[in-house]
Amino acid sequence: MTLEEKLVILADGAKYDASCSSSGSKRRDSNGLGSVAYSGICHSFASDGRCISLLKILMTNCCIFDCKYCLNRKSNNIKRAIFTPEEICTITMNFYRRNYIEGLFLSSGIIKSPDYTMELLIKTIKMLRYKYHFHGYIHCKAIPGASNQLLKELGCLVDRLSANIELPTANGLKLLAPNKEENKVTKIMSYVKENRNASFVPAGQSTQMIVGATKETDLDIMNKSESLYKSYDLKRVFYSAYIPVNKDKLLPALTTPPLLREHRLYQADWLLRFYGFKTKDLLDEDNPNFNILMDPKANWALRHLDEFPKEINEATYYDLLKVPGIGIKSAQRIIACRQNFKITFNDLKKIGVVIKRAKYFITCNHQYFINSNYFHKSFIETNLILEDSIKDESLKEQLSLFS
């Protein structure tokens, strides 16, 4: 098998992992090849619009597990391959020198045992760091079930570690990934959380959930994310729209992946992490799924119209963040600007507020943008949905939240 054939097989097996970020690391190294950029750098964009910043490959696609949704499961009859550590190092170094990539994302199927697989991963990355003096970004998958000693060794070599939780409930996991146990994944997470510092997993840890392979609702997923962020200080939870790669009676027969649903989850994820929202604000037992027609924030605002309109010149930072069309940057700018003068509607555009969304929910100097009699739910809802349907095309560009 040529190196190119191997690369194709092992990149194909790795591509369903959503994470590709190369941000969050501040390591400094004096010599060798490479550096890290705190903001992360995207080097290319694949045909599906997702950013390519890391060389995302499996060490091997051989696996002793038989997870129903996974391309590399034991019972699938596909071509199998394994990279030697030298091969991985050569490809990484050559791509990195030419500025194709920001670093390496190494994952692997499980061969023999979790510990054995982990040892191979460590051997590879050690070689890359010490023999080839590579100082670029490395994201590595931790293998559930491996010993803490190995986890410690790996964590000191990489920028980011991750272990995928895959499904939001233990039932879902039991159904589709009978060999995987949730507590083995969370064990990794708590170990990383407790030991994280500038030289151990400096860019933090992340995880991924598959969306749409089981019957779980958005509420289940968001509750899981919220508790993961809270308990383990995760940097990111990634959501991956389920794409049928295997036929199995336990799996839904989807024709297209639920991309819009995935997009709504990412939007809600941002609301949790940066906007001070809680899952219970956005969803409840009666409405366990997001409105496909409208983003979660606008949807929330419409259900809580009694809290609006907010006065731009008086509202607190977190109140401003609740307004659709106002983000972190524009909220900060509003706060800073209004110390010097009163803000008018004309100023808001320069500040960076998305006026066509925000105007329904705010007043400037106690003035509504049109006659305030129009401030009622049906008027605003119709206009917002109309606005969205015009740019329906751009809705599909959901991966803008990835970078």
Binding site: L3, L33, H43, G49, R97, R98, Y100
Partner: protein, 252 residues
């Protein structure tokens, strides 16, 4: 008659001139480089006697303001000199508070332009593609809208510090040549690098990358529109994985 003040293309000469204008309380109608100035009947070019020992630090503003102004200087906006003049005029008065005064026209333009430059630089940090020459020198070409060669060089001097590399700004015919520990920016008129050949291994590595690039996209999620939004077409001719797509789309 319209007075036009001239400076000789360098950043410090521009600041020196603006500093002088502020000192003399002159409000310029236009500022241009000597190179860009074409005489007309209505324009009166003026070259002021400038302070020879001028030091940028002598302007009483923070480093952050100077950095912002420097980014604007790198842009191609025809009015950039005047924008810098008015921005500095206000910055002297308001200091760092100025970053929150976007409602002033000059501040808004300055911050927008500075953002545009840092965006383009950030994009190219990712999109630049080096090829290895037969003498192990890495060579890359780009044609950025703004003059980001120096900013890019700073980045790659850290990242590829043990390599020898050359980045060519095709549009401006400028080269940045790095030889540890420094890079030198020179005009294309002064050097000749045609003699190098691409290393024999290069084609194999490129082939590997192209296969990886093709494999990593998920067919069921195909979205060329989104791909193009993030990776604008103007960069395609210099990105090896897009080069072929670009040529195809241009030939019909």
């Amino acid at each position: 008659m319209k007075n036009i003040y001239l400076y000789d293309d360098s950043f410090s000469s521009l600041l020196n001139l603006i500093n002088k204008l502020l000192e003399l309380k002159i409000i310029p109608l236009d500022i241009k480089t000597k190179k860009d100035f074409t005489p007309t009947l209505l324009d009166e070019p003026i070259t002021l006697e400038l302070n020879k020992s001028f030091n940028i630090q002598s302007i009483n503003v923070s480093k952050k303001i100077i950095k912002t102004v420097y980014y604007v200087y790198l842009s191609t906006d025809p009015k950039k000199e005047l924008i810098i003049y008015y921005f500095l005029l206000n910055a002297l008065k308001y200091q760092d508070k100025i970053f929150y005064m976007r409602t002033l026209k000059c501040v808004n333009s300055t911050l927008k332009l500075a953002k545009r430059i840092s965006n383009e630089c950030h994009k190219l940090k990712g999109f630049l593609r080096f090829k290895e020459m037969n003498n192990h020198v890495l060579y890359a070409e780009a044609s950025p809208t703004n003059n980001v060669l120096e900013l890019l060089s700073n980045h790659f001097a850290k990242r590829l510090k043990n390599e020898i590399w050359i980045i060519k700004d095709v549009g401006r015919n400028m080269y940045s040549i790095y030889y540890k520990p420094k890079y030198y920016i020179v005009s294309g008129q002064n050097i000749n690098i045609q003699k190098f050949n691409i290393s024999c291994d290069e084609e194999n590595i490129e082939k590997l990358w192209l296969s990886f690039f093709k494999t990593i996209g998920i067919e069921a999620r195909k979205n060329s529109r989104c791909q193009m939004n993030f990776m604008p077409k103007k960069y395609w001719p210099y990105i090896i994985e897009m080069e072929r797509v670009y040529e195809k789309s241009n030939n019909g």
